[in-house]
């Protein structure tokens, strides 16, 4: 039995148990399932991301919006790998105009399955937050990924509403704060986790003609600004908010790697997406 078969089998059994428990209640109280992101991040987060919480992603600088998007979509792809359902992506229209609209072939190349994504283009930030809240509360999607440009409307009470909706529907919420570059430490919100993401130079592969190399896999440098255990205690042991973690996204396996090691740091997602072709 190969490791992948075993991982798939485990994921299937876990899902079956989850289904039974949602119908007839848990036999014994269990720790809520957490989304594993790989050794480096899991240790700092106290065992992965909670699957019923609000997690924010902010770019480190103006030009890091794409890196933050890539990291958030990595989280989304991992979540799709363990939960067989469709994900919802809600974006504020202005963000799509300023940063570019999410592009299907690029998402496929990033390792996402377009058939399992529904996109919502909200005219403004309040309606984006409203759509996110409704989706979270329904508990139907595998995750809800939101993108907000106008941060003024996203205050403590708005974030609390999202968190409560996520708890109610047992669905994780990922929120991209598109215009919060450099302000990740100053935001106050009810979110459990906040990442600050910057682009990092990728491992260039040598070009055949000499000269400059070819760009490699998507790479990020991630700083965990805030992490709170969902049970209501303080931050997990060993959280260092000053440390930046280098990560590389492997789109075929949907794992985050430390580029310093050659082996993946996260186990491949159990029910991973079938790799998709870029269309032609």
């Amino acid at each position: 039995m190969s490791p992948r078969d075993r991982a798939e089998g485990m994921a299937r059994l876990r899902r079956a148990i989850e289904e039974i428990e949602t119908r007839s209640g848990a036999a014994a109280p269990r720790a809520p399932a957490r989304l594993s992101l790989g050794v480096a991040l899991d240790a700092a987060l106290g065992g992965g991301l909670s699957c019923d919480g609000l997690h924010e992603i902010a770019p480190a600088a103006v030009a890091d919006g794409a890196a933050a998007t890539g990291f958030a979509l990595g989280l989304a792809a991992r979540r799709l790998g363990v939960r067989g359902a469709t994900g919802l992506v809600v974006g504020e229209e202005f963000a799509a105009r300023d940063l570019g609209a999410l592009y299907g072939p690029g998402l496929v190349a990033h390792g996402l399955d377009l058939d399992r994504l529904v996109f919502v283009r909200a005219p403004d930030a309040p309606s984006a937050l409203g759509a996110m809240e409704e989706a979270l509360r329904s508990g139907a999607p595998a995750f809800v990924l939101g993108e907000i440009w106008r941060l003024k409307v996203y205050d403590l009470s708005a974030s609390r509403r999202l968190l409560l909706a996520a708890r109610g529907g047992a669905t994780p919420a990922f929120l991209l704060l598109a215009s919060a570059y450099g302000a990740a430490d100053k935001i106050s919100s009810a979110a459990e986790t906040r990442f600050e993401v910057a682009a990092a130079p990728s491992a260039h592969s040598p070009s055949t003609g000499g000269g400059r190399g070819l760009p490699g896999r998507p790479s990020f440098s991630v700083r965990i600004v805030k992490a709170r255990l969902s049970s209501g205690q303080g931050p997990p042991v060993g959280l260092d908010t000053a440390r930046t973690i280098r990560l590389e996204w492997r789109n075929e396996e949907q794992t985050f790697d430390d580029p310093a090691f050659s082996l993946p740091l996260a186990a491949p997602a159990g029910d991973r997406l079938r790799p998709a072709r870029a269309g032609y």
């Binding site: 469709t86 609209a101 990728s202 998709a276």
Partner: protein, 482 residues
């Protein structure tokens, strides 16, 4: 009035003017000479058509089959509905009262076939013709009418009257061949339609819905809560109708008929066949309660509400297997969510993306409303080690300034949004030409994947082949990678 044959002439008169002896066709100068106090306004066919459309909307309260009859009439197929208004006389009485309240004078005709009804409305003394008129009785009703009642073009009518054929009776009594030879076959085709020998069909403005539930109110309702409560009741009624045929609604329309003659139509769609009254009511509640332009302006109140199912589809057989039941339930919950969001934000804002086989990057993906799109089976196959398409694509590629070693080489540096980027790694070109069969003149693009010294990855392209298509190639930034 309008200009007809080089003179300002009357084209329509109201009741008072008719009583004073004015008639359409009279020159304005003559009319003024007879009645110095005449109030004449210019005819506006566009606005008249619009008003007629509104009246047609209003008439949909009687029957879903409403068609235009020329530029100044409406044809309603009232077969099987008259009893709802207390018989044919009751129906006409109801219409006359309602229209006179709106300040519109009405001429009605009701007969076995559309042609006869139209003739009665325009030239008849008595609006309702008895059923099955034949022979002498028919002659008594119709033979005294002018030939114009057949709805023939004015020049044919003029020719006929010049030949002495002024009344329908004149035509009906004569042998057909000579008249057909001289005036065309249309004359007798219309006469046959009038007698009921042939039955032309009317073409209604809107196709009749598959299922309809409606409620009439003796005293009009104006409050939103009352409207919502009645939507729920209508949905209950509609579900009963749908269940009889094991069907579910994919498209619904709610029509609110206001007392002042205005009709408001609200459409909602569903991504799976719906047969639950609560789900339907919730979709409309999203639209009505959204605080957007859709809010109902009940005005003086609504006295008829109609809920129609425009598109019904058979319900899929219910899954009995335990495992499947769960997947289906989850899919249904997602479908409900998609429907609610589509109703609130509009279907074009809630989409699925599908890949299209096209080389031009902006055409390689299509967004379909999630309400309509069905999730399709996953595509097979291949993901490159490093993504070859950007995560975010700009709708309008943004021009950049570049520095390169040679004019057709890859850039060393570029400036985008006032920031200078040093290119540390670059891959390309990927040459993408516009499809020659569509526009041969569009310049070819050479795409590059570039990473700057900070690790940010961009998708750049140069427009135009250097030396062949252009001497000054322009550079653009089209997308950004994660």
């Amino acid at each position: 009035m309008a200009t007809v044959r080089n003179a300002r002439r009357l084209v329509g008169v109201d009741v008072n003017a008719a009583r004073l002896g004015l008639a359409p066709g009279l020159a304005l100068a003559d009319a003024r000479a007879r009645i110095p106090a005449l109030v004449a306004v210019d005819a506006d066919p566009g606005r008249e058509a619009k008003i007629l459309e509104k009246i047609a909307d209003f008439c949909a309260r009687y029957t879903p089959l409403v068609a235009f009859d020329g530029a100044d009439g409406l044809m309603l197929d009232v077969a099987g509905v008259a009893h709802l208004f207390g018989g044919e006389a009751g129906l006409i009485g109801d219409a006359e009262t309602r229209f006179s309240r709106l300040g519109i004078a009405l001429r009605c005709g009701l007969a076995d076939n559309p042609r006869a009804a139209s003739a009665l409305a325009r030239y008849g003394a008595n609006p309702i013709a008895p059923v099955g008129l034949e022979g002498k009785a028919f002659a008594k009703w119709f033979h005294d009418m002018p030939v114009a009642a057949l709805g023939l073009p004015p020049d044919v009518v003029a020719d006929l009257s010049r030949a002495g054929l002024k009344r329908i009776g004149d035509l009906a009594m004569r042998p057909r061949a000579p008249i057909t030879a001289r005036f065309g076959s249309d004359v007798f085709a219309r006469l046959d339609a009038l007698t009921g020998l042939t039955r032309p069909s009317i073409s209604p403005r809107f196709p009749p819905p598959d299922f309809v539930a409606e409620r009439r109110f003796v005293s009009p309702i104006a409050q939103l809560q009352a409207v919502e409560a009645n939507i729920a009741k209508l949905a209950d009624d509609l579900v009963v109708l749908l269940e009889r045929q094991m069907k579910g609604a994919r498209a619904l329309e709610l029509s609110l008929y206001r007392v002042d003659g205005d009709v408001r139509r609200i459409h909602v769609g569903a991504s799976r066949p719906l047969n639950e009254a609560r789900a339907m009511a919730r979709l409309f509640a999203e639209r009505l309660g959204g605080g957007r332009e859709d809010e109902i302006d009940a005005g003086f109140g609504v006295d008829l509400m109609r809920l129609s199912c425009l598109l019904a589809e058979p319900l899929p057989p219910s899954q009995s297997e335990w495992e499947r039941a769960h997947d289906v339930e989850r899919a249904e919950r997602l479908a409900d969510l998609v429907d609610r969001l589509s109703a609130r934000l509009g279907p074009r804002r809630v989409v699925r993306q599908t890949l299209v086989e096209a080389h031009i990057p902006e055409h390689a993906v299509a967004a379909e409303p999630a309400v309509r799109a069905a999730p399709r089976s996953p595509a097979t196959a291949f993901v490159a080690e490093a993504p070859d398409r950007p995560l975010r694509l700009f709708e309008h590629p943004e021009p950049i300034e570049t520095v390169a070693e040679v004019p057709d080489g890859p850039p060393l540096k570029f400036r985008w949004r006032r920031m200078l980027h040093d290119v540390a790694a670059i891959e390309g070109p990927e040459r993408i030409a516009a499809p020659w069969w569509r526009n041969a003149n569009a310049p070819t693009r050479d795409y590059f994947r570039a990473e700057d010294s900070a690790g940010r990855r961009y998708w750049l392209y140069r427009e135009g082949l250097y030396g062949r298509e252009t001497m000054r190639a322009k550079w653009f930034l089209h997308g950004v990678f994660g």
